[in-house]
C-alpha cells in the first residue's frame, strides 16, 4: 500500500502548528444536530434544558460545520476524521479496521481486517437470522475461541480472531500481498445464501480466495452449532496511513470513549485510548484522573446518536440534558480551550445520520465576539465563526489554543 500523507489543513500544509502549554478538550456529542418536531417546531437541542451548554455558548463563539459536503450524510468514521482535521474523502477508513482497532487489536500495514457477524443458516444454506438470535457475549466468545483453535492459518496467511460484542467479531488476515478490495459476504437480507467474497480488483483475487477458504473452514467448524453456524464478513480494509496526531498537531492527544468504533477512529489517527469506561460518567472520571498528563483530550458521548437513530426524540432530549450535566466537570478542569460539536446530525425525526450542518462552539480567552445565547442549530447559524468545512475545525481549535504561527511576513 502506498503511504500517502493527506493534508487537508492550511495550518498543517504550511507548517504553522507549534507547541504550546495549553490544554484542549474536544467534546463530541455524537449525532448532535436535529430537525424540528412538528408539535412545536423545536429541535432536540431547542427542546432540551441545557443550562450549562447555554451558559458556555454565551461566552463562546459558535458556528456550523458541514462534516463532508452539503447534502452528504456521513458515517461515524468520516464524521470523526473530519473534526480531527483529516479529509475523509481522501482517507477511506474501513469498518473492519475501525472495529479491529476499537477492540484493541494491533494492526500491521499489510493486514486486512473485517467485521464479522455470526448468522444462522437453515438446512438449505439460506440465512434465516443475520444476527444468529443475538447470542450472549459469553456464548459468542466461546464460538470465537472454537474458530481460533481450528483456523490459525490459510496458505501461509495468519488468521486472527477477536470477539467484540453479541454476534459481532473481528477477523484479521495477516500475510503478504493482501488487498482490502473484496466485497462483503453479507447479503443484508434473510432468505438468501451468503455472498461470495468477490474481488473488486484483480490484485484482490488472492485475498478473496483466502477469505473464501476461511469461510468454508468456519462453516465446517460450526456444523454442530444450532444458531451460530455461519459467518458473514464485511468492511474488508487495510490500515490507512494517516499522519499521526502528535506529529501533525505537535501535541500529546488522547481519546476517551466507550464504544469500539470511536476508539478505533481515534487510534487510526494515533490517539492513545485511556481506560475502559463503560459509561460517560466513567469517561469523565478518566479525563479528570489523567488531566495532568496530556494536552489534548477527545471525549465522546454516544447516547444522543443512539436515541436519534432509534427515532426517540424525547430520549435524545434527555441524553442532551445528561451530556449538559457533565459540562461543569469539564470546565472545572480549566481547559484553555474547549470545543463542543458533533460528528454529524442524527435527527430523531429521521432516525438516522443526516446531512444537516452541525453546531459547534469554541470557548477560550480569545474566542472572539459573538452574541449567541444558547447552543442550538438556529443560534449556531449566526455564529461568528460561520459555517466551515468540518476539516477546518481543528485549525480554529489550534489557533484558539495559541498553537498556530502567523502565515507569511
Amino acid at each position: 500500500m502506498p503511504r500517502v500523507i493527506i493534508l487537508a489543513m492550511i495550518l498543517v500544509e504550511k507548517n504553522l502548528v507549534h507547541k504550546a502549554k495549553t490544554k484542549i478538550i474536544l467534546f463530541v456529542i455524537d449525532g448532535l444536530g436535529g430537525i424540528p418536531r412538528p408539535e412545536d417546531g423545536k429541535t432536540e437541542m431547542e427542546a432540551a434544558q441545557t443550562p450549562n451548554l447555554d451558559a458556555l455558548a454565551k461566552k463562546s463563539v459558535l458556528g456550523l460545520i458541514n462534516p463532508v459536503a452539503p447534502g452528504v450524510s456521513p458515517g461515524s468514521g468520516p464524521g470523526h476524521l473530519s473534526i480531527f482535521g483529516y479529509d475523509p474523502l481522501q482517507n477511506d477508513v474501513g469498518r473492519g479496521v475501525l472495529e479491529a482497532l476499537g477492540v484493541g487489536m494491533k494492526l500491521m500495514e499489510s493486514d486486512v481486517a473485517a467485521r464479522g457477524n455470526f448468522a444462522t443458516l437453515d438446512a438449505d444454506g439460506l440465512i434465516v437470522d443475520r444476527r444468529a438470535g443475538r447470542p450472549k457475549d459469553q456464548d459468542a466468545a466461546k464460538v470465537v475461541e472454537l474458530l481460533k483453535k481450528n483456523i490459525k492459518e490459510i496458505e501461509g496467511v495468519q488468521v486472527l480472531l477477536q470477539h467484540v460484542k453479541g454476534h459481532r467479531f473481528v477477523v484479521v488476515f495477516r500475510g503478504e500481498d493482501l488487498s482490502g478490495r473484496v466485497l462483503e459476504t453479507d447479503p443484508q437480507q434473510d432468505g438468501v445464501p451468503p455472498l461470495f467474497p468477490v474481488p473488486e480488483k484483480r490484485e484482490a483475487e488472492h485475498t478473496a480466495r483466502i477469505i473464501w477458504q476461511f469461510i468454508q473452514k468456519a462453516h465446517y467448524t460450526l456444523l454442530n452449532e444450532k444458531k451460530m453456524n455461519c459467518v458473514l464478513l464485511r468492511g474488508f480494509s487495510k490500515l490507512p496511513y494517516l499522519q499521526p496526531f502528535s506529529d501533525r498537531y505537535k501535541m500529546d492527544g488522547v481519546g476517551i470513549a466507550v464504544y469500539p468504533m470511536y476508539k478505533g477512529v481515534a487510534r487510526v489517527i494515533g490517539l492513545n485510548i485511556l481506560g475502559e469506561p463503560r459509561s460517560f460518567e466513567e469517561e469523565v472520571k478518566i479525563l479528570e484522573d489523567n488531566w495532568a498528563e496530556h494536552e489534548f483530550f477527545f471525549i465522546h458521548y454516544k447516547d444522543t446518536d443512539e436515541a436519534g437513530e432509534d427515532g426517540d426524540f424525547d430520549r435524545k432530549v434527555a441524553k442532551l440534558e445528561e451530556a449538559d450535566s457533565f459540562v461543569r466537570r469539564l470546565l472545572a478542569l480549566k481547559p484553555d480551550v474547549i470545543a463542543i460539536t458533533g460528528d454529524h446530525s442524527t435527527p430523531a425525526m429521521m432516525a438516522k445520520h443526516s446531512w444537516h450542518p452541525v453546531p459547534f462552539m469554541i470557548s477560550g480567552p480569545f474566542a472572539g465576539p459573538d452574541d449567541c445565547t444558547a447552543f442550538t442549530e438556529r443560534q449556531a447559524k449566526h455564529g461568528y465563526y460561520g459555517r466551515i468545512r468540518a476539516t477546518d475545525l481543528m485549525s480554529l481549535i489550534l489557533a484558539n489554543a495559541g498553537r498556530a504561527k502567523k502565515f507569511g511576513a
Copy 2:
C-alpha cells in the same frame, strides 16, 4: 473530442445516489436575485408581494448559491448547469449548441453549431442594423429556406440551417475534423464590417475556412434582400459530453421551458423536454398533465430575467408576483421536495446578469430547522443551509428526497 465525464459532486463521485419513489420539482425563476433600488432600499424580491413564496419560505430551509464563484456573473448556460450539479468551469457549453438543441436539432459529436443573426449591411459593407430591423418570423424563415436551398455543402461539410425566432437562426456544420475554437463574426456594434471567423487554435483553421465560405455564399445568396443581407455568427461550439442526468442521479428527469436556450441546456444533460409551451401558464399545465409520469421536473420561468435585463424594476417585481401566483399549483401536486432558486441574479438596477449570490429554498419533510419568514435575499443569507456552491444544490435536493446513501461506516 475526448469524452470526459466530469463529476463535481461528492454524492456522485462516491456513488451514493440511489433510486427512490420521491418526486421533485426544481423551479428556476430566471435572474431571481436583485439589488436595492435607491428610493426605499428594497430589492425586487422585497418589493414584490409574494405571499405564496413567503409562506413556503416559513416551512423551508433557505440559503444562497454562488452560481460559479464569488464575483463571477454567469450566463444562462453555466448558471443552469451549476444548479443541475454539473461544474460549468469544466463543462463549457457553447451558445450554438444550446440554441441548436433548444430548437430540437439532433447534434452529432463532430458537429459545430453556431447561433446566427440576420443583419443589415449598407453599400459599403458596414453593419447598419445587427438585428436586420427585427424581421417577422415568417419573413426570416423564408430567408433561412433560401439559404438552405443554395448552401447544402462546403468542401464535403454539410450545412444544416434552422430558423429560431425573429432575426435568429442556427447553423450546424457537419463533417470531419471540425473545431469549435473559432471566434465570433459579430462585432457587437454597428458602423463596422462583420469580423472574420478567426481560428483560435491551429486545429480550427479548416473549420474557419469552411465558415468563411459559408458567410460569403450566404451574402451572395442574400444580395437581393433589403434588410436580411448579412449573417453574423457566434457561439461556435461542439456538443460536450456530460454524464446523462438519469445515469447521474438515478431518476427520470424532464424539463419544461418556453425558450430554446433553456430547453437546450436541459437537453445537454439529457433531460427530456415536455411539450411546446408558449407561456408559463402552459408550462404549469404541462407539468400537471405529466406529473404521474416522471420523478424530477425542471420548470423554468423566464420573464423575471427579461425584465431585469431591460432594467425595468417594476416589471421584474410584477413578474415575481406572477411567478408567485403559480406556487400553489406546484404545491398542489404534493411534490416530496420542491426547490426554488435562480440561475443567477439579474438586478434591474444593473440591467444585466450579475455576480450576486442567489437565494434558494428547499421544502420537504426533513429540510431542517430554520426561521426565515420570507423568500428574499436578506432572509436567505440567514438560511440554515448557508451559502453553498450552486453545484452542491442538487446534493441537498437529493438528500432531502431520500435519494442519497450514508458516506462511510
